[in-house]
C-alpha cells in the first residue's frame, strides 16, 4: 500500500496536522473490508476551498488499460486499482471510520443512500460543473441580486489586482518604450491595439486608459490618438458594466462578447497586430481536465457530478419535485437559466429569485466522484483543438507519481491569443499559476467553488512548455504590487 501525504508544509509547527490520528480509523475501516490492500493507494490532501466538490473521503477506481469511458473494469494488470482520497482539513471531529465505511460502500455500489447522479462518467472538461460555471457568468446579475455579493468584492482582498495603478504605470512605460523604438525605425503601425480578455467591471480598462493619458502627458507622446482598446468578455452583463466604467474614453474603446477560449473567431483581423493583451483571473475559470502518472502509467481523471442523497432529498422537497425528476430539473435550469426556468415552471418557482435559490442550493450540494482512465498514446488526447497531448509528456514523465491540471480552456485561450500579438507584443496575465510541477505533489489546486463559478489553479509549466514550442518566452513572477497575494504575473513574448 502506498500512502501519499501531500500537504507536507502543514506537518510541522504549532498547528501541525495529526495525520496518524486521522488515518487510523480509515485504516481500520479498510481492514474490515475486502478491498485488496496490496493494490490500494491512499492520498491525503488539504482542500483549502471551503466550498468544493469533494467528500471527506472518496474511493476511486484506477481502471486498467483497455477499459473504455463507460466500459466495465477489466482484469488487466495494474499496479494499483483503488485510490482512497482524504481531505485532512475536514477529518477532525467527525466519525471517520463511519465515513470511510460509507465511502467504501459507495465504491462497492452498496451504499445505504444512493447518490443522485447528474451525468455519466466523462472527462472533467465535459462535466456539467462547467455548465454551472457558464450559467454563473451569463446570469451574474441575478446571482448578485440574490446573494447581495458583487463578484469583485468576493475576490481575495476585495478588489481585483487589475486596478493597481503602479502596476499599470509600469506596464505603460514598457509599452511606450517599445512604441518609441518602433517609431524611430518608422515601423510603428498607425493603429495601436490593446486587448483585454475578461474585463470584470471595467476597472482595469478605466485604470489603464486614465493612466495612459497621465503617462503620455508626462512623456510628451501622442499615442492615445492612435489607441484602440478592445474589451472582451463572455458576459454581456459584465461588458455592459465595463462600458459604463470607461465612458470617458468611449472614442477609443470597443467591446466584444466572446469566448475567451477562441478569441481569434472575433479578433482574427488583428493577427500579429496587438501590442498588449491583458488577461486577469480568466484562465482559472475555464474548463480543465486533470491527468495523472501513477506507477509509471498515464491516466486521465474522469468525473461524474452528483448530489449526495440527503441534499438531493431536501432540495427536491423544497422545490416540489421528486428525486427521480430532480436531475432533469437541474439540466433544465442549466439550459434555460433561472429567469426562463421560473417562467416555464411556475409550479416549482414562483419567481426568478426562487429559481436562483434552487440553483444556489444545487450548486452548494454538487459533488464530483472520480476515477482514473488509462491514457494510451498521449498524441490521441487533445489538450485543445490545435494542441496534442504530447505536450504533457515532459511534465508527466518528470519522475514519480504526479496528478496535475491540464487547464484545457486556458491552453486553448493561450494558443489562440498568441497569434494576435505583434512581433513586439506581449501577453500579460494575472492569475493563480502553479509555477513548479512539484507543487502538484504538495498541494490541492482545485477544483473549488468560487461564488457560482469553478476555480482551478493553472498549470504554469504546461503553458510555458506550449509557449516555448510556439516560439514564445513565458515567464512567471509573483504579483509585485500587493503583498500576501497568490496572484502570479505571467508574461509571454516572442523569443529569438
Amino acid at each position: 500500500m502506498f500512502v501519499d501525504v501531500r500537504p507536507t508544509s502543514r506537518l510541522r509547527g504549532a498547528k501541525a496536522l495529526d495525520v496518524t490520528t486521522s488515518l487510523h480509523p480509515i485504516f481500520q475501516a479498510l481492514c474490515e473490508d475486502t478491498l485488496d490492500l496490496s493494490r490500494l493507494r491512499m492520498v491525503c490532501d488539504w482542500v483549502q476551498y471551503r466550498k468544493n466538490f469533494r467528500e471527506v473521503i472518496d474511493v476511486r477506481a484506477i481502471l486498467p488499460a483497455g477499459a473504455t469511458l463507460d466500459g466495465v473494469v477489466g482484469t488487466g494488470a495494474t499496479d494499483d486499482d483503488i485510490e482512497v482520497a482524504i481531505d485532512l482539513r475536514r477529518c477532525a471531529d467527525v466519525a471517520l471510520k463511519d465515513i470511510a465505511h460509507a465511502a467504501i460502500g459507495q465504491y462497492h455500489g452498496s451504499g445505504s443512500e444512493p447518490r443522485v447522479f447528474l451525468e455519466s462518467w466523462r472527462p472533467t472538461t465535459q462535466s456539467c460543473i462547467w455548465e454551472f460555471n457558464r450559467l454563473y457568468w451569463q446570469a451574474l446579475d441575478l446571482w448578485e441580486e440574490a446573494t447581495g455579493q458583487m463578484y469583485e468584492s468576493a475576490l481575495p482582498g476585495g478588489s481585483s489586482d487589475a486596478r493597481n495603478t503602479e502596476a499599470v504605470r509600469e506596464l505603460l512605460r514598457d509599452l511606450f518604450a517599445i512604441w518609441d523604438q518602433l517609431a524611430a525605425r518608422n515601423a510603428l503601425p498607425e493603429e495601436l491595439y490593446v486587448i483585454e480578455l475578461g474585463v470584470g467591471n471595467g476597472n482595469q480598462a478605466k485604470t489603464f486608459l486614465d493612466e495612459f493619458l497621465i503617462v503620455e502627458a508626462a512623456q510628451d507622446r501622442d499615442y492615445y490618438r492612435r489607441l484602440h482598446y478592445l474589451m472582451c468578455d463572455y458576459s454581456p452583463h459584465v461588458l455592459q458594466l465595463a462600458r459604463k466604467a470607461v465612458a470617458a474614453h468611449s472614442g477609443h474603446v470597443s467591446s466584444f462578447v466572446l469566448d475567451a477560449t477562441q478569441p481569434t473567431t472575433s479578433l482574427g483581423f488583428l493577427k500579429y497586430k496587438v501590442f498588449l493583451i491583458y488577461v486577469s483571473n480568466v484562465y482559472d475559470n475555464l474548463p480543465a481536465d486533470e491527468v495523472a502518472r501513477l506507477g509509471g502509467r498515464s491516466y486521465r481523471v474522469e468525473t461524474r457530478a452528483y448530489l449526495p442523497a440527503a441534499e438531493a432529498r431536501s432540495i427536491a422537497s423544497d422545490f416540489s419535485t421528486d428525486l427521480k425528476a430532480l436531475p432533469e430539473l437541474i439540466h433544465k435550469l442549466l439550459r434555460l437559466g433561472p429567469a426562463l426556468l421560473a417562467e416555464a415552471l411556475p409550479a416549482h418557482f414562483g419567481k426568478a429569485s426562487d429559481a436562483v435559490e434552487f440553483w444556489s442550493r444545487v450548486w452548494t450540494g454538487l459533488r464530483l466522484t472520480e476515477r482514473y482512465a488509462p491514457l494510451v498514446g498521449l498524441d490521441l488526447y487533445r489538450i485543445a483543438p490545435s494542441v496534442s497531448g504530447e505536450m504533457l509528456r515532459p511534465l508527466l514523465e518528470s519522475g514519480g507519481d504526479i496528478r496535475m491540471h491540464v487547464n484545457n480552456g486556458a491552453v486553448a485561450s493561450f494558443v489562440d491569443t498568441l497569434p494576435l500579438l505583434h512581433p513586439y507584443g506581449r501577453l500579460l496575465n494575472h492569475d493563480l499559476f502553479v509555477t513548479d510541477t512539484h507543487r502538484y505533489r504538495t498541494g490541492f489546486l482545485g477544483p473549488g467553488k468560487y461564488e457560482g463559478s469553478v476555480v482551478n489553479w493553472i498549470n504554469g509549466p504546461l503553458l510555458q512548455h506550449i509557449g516555448s514550442r510556439k516560439g514564445f518566452d513565458v515567464q512567471y513572477q509573483p504579483f509585485r504590487h500587493r503583498k500576501g497575494t497568490n496572484i502570479v504575473t505571467m508574461t509571454a513574448q516572442v523569443r529569438d
Binding site: A187, P189, Y272, D379, S388, E390, R393, P419, H422, P423, S468, R469, K470, G471, F472, V494, D496
Partner: protein, 373 residues
Amino acid sequence: MPGHAAAPQSLPYLPTTVVGSYSVPEWLDRLKTDYYQNRLSKQHLSEICDACIKAALKDQELTGIDVVSDGELRRDNDIDYLLARIPGIQVMSATKAYYYDYYETVVTNALPSHDTIALGLAEDFSFTRAHTDRPIKFSFTGPFSLSRRVRNDAYPNTADLVLALAEVLNAEAHRLAAAGATLMQIDEPFLAGYPDEVSVAIEAINVVTKGVDATWGLHVCYGNRYARPSWEGHYDFLFPAVIDANVDQLILEFARKGYDDLQLIQRFGWDRALGLGVIDVKTEDVETPDLIAARIRRALDVVPPERLIVNPDCGLRHLPADVARAKLKAMVEGTAAVRQELPRDEGAAPAAGGALHSVNGDTHGEMIDEATG
C-alpha cells in the same frame, strides 16, 4: 531511378517548386528532441531522417511539384544545422530542451581557412539526388542571417563576420556544385529585421555565389519561426541594393502580406526570375486553385511568364502533412490553369533563358538542360 542522376526533362513555364522545408510531423519533433537530449543515437536519427526525406520527395512528386527539395528534414533549424558544423563557432551547450531551439553560439577567433571546412551539405544533396528524378532545389541559410545568431567576439565588426561566413558557404557551394547541385537557394530570414544592413548582406551573397556554376535563388521573407512573422514591413528595403546581387531568382513572400510589393519588381526593373509566394504558410486554411491562379495572373501583369516561378511564401515545416499536401496540390492545379491560358508555345515549353536560367547566361548544367530539353 534511385542512385542515378536525373534524366533530362523539360520544365513548363511557371515551374512550381517549394522554398525548402517540408512538414515536420509531431513524432519527428519528438524523436529529434530525444536526440538532442541524448535519448536517441545519431545513427537512428539519421536513418529516421533518410526515411522522412524519401517520403517528403514522394509527397512533392505526387502533388506534381516540378522542382523538389529534401524538405530540410535533416536539420534541427535553419541556423544551427550550419553554424554547429563550422569550426571556430563555439556552441555553448550542445543539448537542447527542444531540438528546434537555437543554440547560443560565439566566435572568439577568426574562422579557420574555409577550404578545410566541409559542412556536409554536399552529402545531403547527394542523398536527395539519389532518391528523385525531379530537378532539385537545395537551400541553405545565408551568411547575414547566420551571423545574427553568433556572438561576435572575434571580428572588429559584424560585416567582417558576415563576409567570413560567406567564404565558408562559398566553399560549400563549390562542393555542392561538384556533387551535381544546379539550383541553390540562399535564405535570409533575418534580413527584413535589419533593413539598414542590406548592402552588406548583398555583398556577402555575392561572395557565396562567386565562381559557383549553378542557378542561384535568394529567398527573403519576414520570418517563419514557429509559423510567425518575426518582422513586418515592405520589401522596399531590398531595392535597389538587391539588383546588385548575383542571383538568378528572387523568391519573396506575398500570399500572407498581399501583392502590393509587386510594383517594386517593375519600378526597380528586376530583370531576372521572381519566385512568387502564392501559399500562406502561416495558416492551415488551404487556398483554392482559383485563388492561386488569380495570384499568378496578378504577377503576370508585371513579370513575363518566362521569368515567373510559383512557390509557397516560405517553408512548409509548421504545417501538418495533410495540409501541406493539399496546399501544394492546389498550387499545382492553380498554376496548371494559368498555363492553359498562356499562348500555346509559352504554356507548353519555355524558350531558353526561362525562369530557371542562370543569371550569367552560362549553360549551368542540369537546369538549363532540362529547361531547354
